[in-house]
């Protein structure tokens, strides 16, 4: 079902945590709330689930207001980062807990729990105690338990951040598969931009209790509305300038670009810059940093304060101190109106 937040404001211990949030998630859509810690994204999740009450605004689910519905009747299920498995229950008891709350007969509960364990690829774990299983297995149990509650909206609160990096990939795939299969409207809270970019249909970028931008991953990456959003995805060097008649003009370079006239900042991310070794180059390499897949080059313009970064994919024989010339990839330049 589609979820709509209208002017949601939340105040906790006299501090305004969320400021007039508006957000619409379509039925079956997978969106991410992305932002640094403390931006209010987890609070928003809890507000949707009804654990935190909003001071103002309204939450609509399938067009109906949820505001007076208590948390246990909303079917907005949260999967928390710290798992929150019930420590006095076995794996299967944990999974059948929501079913029991729905009033299902215990045989039916058992049947369903076994089914769900199969879905999360944990057959044969049903009678294990929850402290006898690994972190990744716990995560699967938590997912199965959330699915057992038959959520209308699935809320994932940094669900992968307590897992080992190599486990995360598997879990992300599992979550996406299950989400597609059950077509559950899903909101993922994360501070991990890769996670948001790779998993979501749309990303809502949050900062200081506000949503700064809500767009598809591609758009939010390529056309950030301001420097905060732009920097969160990839930092680079900003160059101020002006667009006039479809041409960006600045102190350092000019380039043709199809944009409205006005003052702009041009963000040059490392990926937008190509470097060639050149004796008469106007730039000099000041550092060459190995990053595994590639090298990061830090380059300064000679006799200028301009500092740029570039990614070097092949180990070309560029060393620190070499003079180089640069080439800009026009399509990767980002223009942010001032």
């Amino acid at each position: 079902m589609e979820l709509e937040l209208k002017n949601i404001s939340v105040t906790l211990s006299k501090k305004e945590i969320l400021k007039s949030i508006n957000l619409r998630v379509e039925d079956g859509e997978f969106i991410s709330l992305l932002g640094a810690s403390g931006c209010g994204k987890s609070t928003l999740l809890k507000t949707i689930a009804g654990i935190i009450k909003q001071r103002e605004g309204s939450i609509l689910l399938g067009g109906k207001a949820l505001d007076k519905v208590p948390p246990h009747k909303r079917r907005t299920v949260i999967v928390f980062q710290d798992f929150r498995l019930f420590p006095h229950m076995t794996v299967a008891e944990n999974i059948s807990f929501p079913l029991k709350m729905l009033g299902l007969h215990k045989d039916k509960c058992r049947e369903r729990a076994v089914e769900l364990l199969k879905k999360v690829k944990l057959e044969g774990f049903k009678d294990r105690h929850v402290d006898e299983i690994s972190g990744g297995q716990k995560q699967r149990v938590v997912l199965a338990r959330a699915l057992a509650a038959e959520p209308v909206v699935l809320l994932l609160d940094e669900p992968f951040s307590s897992l080992d990096i190599n486990l995360r990939k598997d879990m992300r795939e599992l979550v996406l598969d299950l989400q597609k299969e059950y077509k559950i409207t899903t909101i993922l809270v994360t501070h991990d931009k890769e996670e948001a970019l790779t998993m979501s249909d749309r990303i809502a970028f949050m900062h200081n209790g506000e949503i700064l931008q809500y767009d598809t991953p591609e758009n939010i990456f390529k056309n950030p509305v301001n420097t905060i959003v732009a920097d969160y995805f990839a930092e680079g060097t900003y160059i101020s300038g002006e667009i006039k008649g479809n041409r960006f003009i600045s102190r350092f370079f000019n380039v043709d670009i199809n944009r409205d006239d006005g003052k702009y900042k041009c963000l040059i991310r490392p990926s937008a810059l190509k470097v060639n070794k050149a004796e008469d180059g106007k730039f000099q390499v000041v550092a060459k940093i190995y990053q595994g897949d590639n090298y990061l080059l830090k380059i300064n313009k000679i006799n200028s304060s301009l500092k740029l970064e570039s990614i070097l994919n092949e180990p070309l024989d560029i060393k620190e101190g070499d003079k180089v010339s640069i080439e800009l990839d026009k399509d990767k330049l980002i223009f942010i109106p001032e």
Binding site: V77, F80, F86, F97, L102, R110, R145
Partner: protein, 271 residues
């Protein structure tokens, strides 16, 4: 490695302590079964079941008093545990007007000797027709158990936290069901500790029960203490023995019932 000599001294101290605690228990056990133990013998000169038989003689009413006394103390213990669970939840999970005051009130009985309080409330209880009634005795006993039970429940409630209950809400459990299925089982060890603690405080109570009960509410201490006051070692010891054994039996039963309750719930969940 050789044991340091300080350890040997400490061990000696430990053994002396254990001996000092257990020896009097053995002595009163012997006294309870003594027929004659004359000076200067170190062991009874002859044994008998006289004292035990007298306590449980059909013409006496010791056994019914023991049972009603256990029942009264169990009532105090249960109420104390329930009130403590409630107060602990309020203080740990909520911000409300007068929260610090509640914290203070629940610890205040530690700072007012029960004799002082009992004499103070006595007149009021007479007016309220609570003096000389089991209810009056229960209330006064209850007040003096609460600092202990609230302390136990507060620590446990704090360490369990609210997170699991919140998880239960979003999984479809109403607040009451979330408490019943999640927090309550996790609080059980504390509940058992609270009940046993409150039980022993209430069951041991002599002065307060004497004053508020006015001799009308008979507890086991009421009938035991006169023999101790008289210095009757045989009967006093027999009563003391019954006191300790009945307490241990009650503790065993409390453990059994609450643990069973937990097991039964698990069975209901699964199997």
């Amino acid at each position: 490695m050789k044991e340091p000599s300080s350890n040997k001294l400490l061990k000696l101290f430990l053994y002396i302590t254990v001996f000092a605690i257990l020896a009097p228990m053995v002595i009163i056990t012997l006294w309870a079964f003594t027929n004659q133990w004359s000076w200067p013998s170190l062991l009874p000169t002859s044994y008998s079941l006289r004292a035990i038989k007298e306590i449980f003689a059909p013409y006496g009413n010791v056994f019914p008093i023991l049972l009603s006394s256990i029942f009264l103390s169990l009532t105090v213990a249960l109420l104390s545990a329930i009130i403590a669970i409630m107060a602990a939840r309020a203080v740990v999970f909520y911000d409300f007007f007068g929260k610090d005051l509640i914290d203070f009130i629940s610890m205040a009985p530690n700072l007012v000797p029960s004799t002082v309080f009992a004499m103070g409330i006595h007149v009021a209880f007479i007016k309220m027709s609570l003096a000389n009634t089991p209810l009056g005795v229960i209330i006064v006993n209850l007040i003096y158990t609460l600092p202990y039970t609230i302390n136990i429940m507060k620590n446990l409630t704090e360490s369990i936290g609210k997170d699991l209950e919140q998880q239960a809400y979003v999984l479809g459990a109403s607040p009451w069901k979330a408490f019943l299925h999640i927090s309550f089982p996790l609080l059980l060890p504390g509940i058992i500790a609270s009940i046993t603690m409150a039980y022993i405080i209430s069951f041991s109570q002599y002065f307060v029960t004497l004053l508020i009960g006015g001799g009308k509410v008979m507890t086991f201490s009421m009938i035991m203490v006169p023999f101790i006051a008289k210095g009757d070692r045989t009967l006093g010891s027999a009563y003391a023995l019954v006191f300790v054994l009945s307490t241990l039996i009650v503790f065993g039963l409390i453990n059994l019932i609450l643990k069973k309750f937990q097991k039964r719930k698990e069975k209901y969940n699964w199997n």
